[in-house]
Amino acid sequence: MTDATTIVLRLDLEGDALFIDAPTSAGPQETLSTIPGGVLLGVLARWYDKIEATGGPDLSWRVFHAGGVRFGNGLPLVDGRPLLPRPRSWAAEKAKPGDDESYTFVSEDGRVHHKVATRFARRTAIDHNTGRVRGGFLFAYRALMEGQSFVSRIVVAPEAKVALPFLERLYDRTWRIGRSRHAEYGRVRITRLDDPPAPPPHGGLIGTNAVSLLAVSDVAPLDHGRLDATLFGLPDKWQPCPGKTFLAWRTLSVYNGHRRAFDRERQVIVPGSVLAFTGPALSQDQADRLCATLDAGVGLGTERGLGACLANPPILERAEGAVDQKPAIAAVPAAPPDDALFAWLTRRHAARTLGDDARAIGRKNAERFEKLYDALWREARATGRPPGDLAPSPSQWGAVRDEANRATDLKDLRFRLFDKDEGCCAAGVGARVWKEEAPGLTLLEDKPASARALLEAAIDPKALGKQAMVDLSDAAKAELARLVVTDLAVHVPRLMADLARREEAR
């Protein structure tokens, strides 16, 4: 007899996804924290007719209903290994209800804790007759967030191997699965893992007289509420141990797409539950039988991932608390987008965050302009010329402000201000006053002081980088230069007015 074939699939969420297996219609729809195996079974059911045509109704029954193909739940994949549900025995005291732990998973050694990320969204429907919100149709989803990965094991029994070619169609493509998959939700990329991680092992069982079973998936016992040891493959003399059992139940009702209805409701044991049994020491044969029963799945619904349990896994022996605080691995930052919207956002951000820097730099440079104007106006009075002949007027500073507002980057700013043919400080009739130098005044190290030279020095990138309080990117320096020019264009005319008033007061 040949062995069963195991296919391990990796499921990467390319969009938010929503998996619900309860027929609730009130309140927000909360996703399961795993990807149910039944969802993958539902994808395979697209080829139900073809599978039945291949091997008749017996084959389709074996594949889809009798557990000939068992689709395991998709468990969270973190750091290359699938995680297990957090054991409910880890609560501090059995009597106290703990937090909702259904979204928390742990590694096999218990050292890594992971909470599955979810996203909440509220929606409504629009009545197309009125164009208004349709009454009574407000609802909310809490879905699994995109970017997460899960691992599902599919076990194909020898008698169902005819289905293998159809299973191959599941992977290396993107599917839409789960709720609301025709709009926004459910995009999942499925690939096959050629070198999959080993399944989590059972613990030591030979010679033991205490077995604790960890429910890795929902477990649907054949007899509701009666947890017989033989259901799990233990000898019939073994008895439940209530003091070490940590159980929780929920209602499960799976949606059948073919019948367009929910299947009958079942009460299932939730993942993370711990069932403890005691009895006479297990022999080798009994231990093997226990493992075989658990590996084949326990109870009902094994074809859709129910009934997965581990016996005495090491994680149950580990006390909670000793958790590795691994630093999150930061992603390599990608280059920022190169479009007009991002340039606009950068400018907006710079205006908000560099405003103080720009003001400080502008005021420092304004002191130089004050000295320049003072010297030029004294020269004008001494030579009998109007002051406007020697220094830029307030309207010329207004033109500078307008050009600064329109500039897209530093190069464009310099072009608009200083280009010999089109720059407002370099071209045309008004250019002369920007070049006037104050006799005997030394404000710059390497050149005579004129309004143009001072303005050029104010927006020199190296000088801006030194004067700013934080490290700046080139784009940020360009924005700072623009803000400095704008500040000068507003402040220097005020200085001119102050100078004029002081002169009149003499």
Partner: protein, 227 residues
């Protein structure tokens, strides 16, 4: 059931004005109603895009610009009658039909999404993406032309931008495909109906959300990036 990959296209939404796609959540202090975002980037949810497309196609079908049956083919049907009570609501699902069109969120280009997911967290200072929106305030006037007490409200709006939504044709079992439909017809239908889509989001009859929608036959922006 087709075994090949579904046919795809991209819906390009060129927004010309401030726009607001709501989350249903508000802030007591701050911008009021917030725009839907993922990783800090604004988007138009896929369900919203789907509803807008359905309305445009339905209008085009009503006006006779596209052949009958196309709305139910692409977006599904609710059945002939509305449910009368709870029991009828249970039965009415058997009279509904699924649609063939799959619509995803309309988002900024992939370069934006990769940048937003991989950029370092903003420890101090202002997150640039928080500055993308503006806040509009409004009040209501009473019959005497005075501001009605307690009517001040605010909402966050986004600036004009271009968003792209991937579309795919993936008819599920039970989808009513018209007899006249042939491969590629769905793109022609959408291209015919899209001029009827002129606004999206909240307050689109009050000056927000003016949009030009076009269809590109490309495969879209790509199905998301692995984390």
């Amino acid at each position: 059931m087709p075994e090949s990959s579904p046919e795809t296209a991209s819906l390009i939404l060129d927004l010309h004005d401030y726009w607001h796609c709501a989350t249903g959540r508000t802030e007591r202090v701050g911008s009021g109603a917030r725009v839907v975002r993922k990783h800090g980037l604004p988007l138009v949810p896929g369900r919203t895009v789907r509803g807008l497309l359905r309305e445009a196609v339905r209008q085009a079908e009503t006006f006779g610009h596209v052949k009958p049956g196309v709305t139910e083919w692409l977006f599904g049907g609710m059945g002939a009658a509305q449910p009368q009570d709870e029991a009828d609501l249970t039965m009415v699902r058997f009279r509904t039909t699924p649609g063939a069109l799959v619509v995803d969120d309309a988002t900024l280009p992939q370069a934006w999404r990769i940048w937003a997911r991989t950029r370092p967290a903003v420890a101090d200072g202002v997150d640039p993406l928080d500055l993308m929106g503006e806040t509009l305030h409004a009040t209501r006037l009473d019959g005497e032309g005075q501001v009605e007490h307690g009517s001040l409200r605010s909402m966050e709006v986004m600036p004009p931008m271009t968003l792209t939504a991937p579309l795919a044709l993936d008819p599920p079992p039970g989808c009513l495909e018209p007899d006249w439909a042939s491969p590629g017809d769905w793109r022609a239908v959408l291209a015919t109906a899209l001029p009827l889509l002129r606004g999206l989001g909240s307050h689109r009859n009050r000056g927000l959300g003016r949009v030009t929608a076009t269809l590109s036959n490309g495969a879209g922006q790509g199905a998301g990036d692995p984390a």
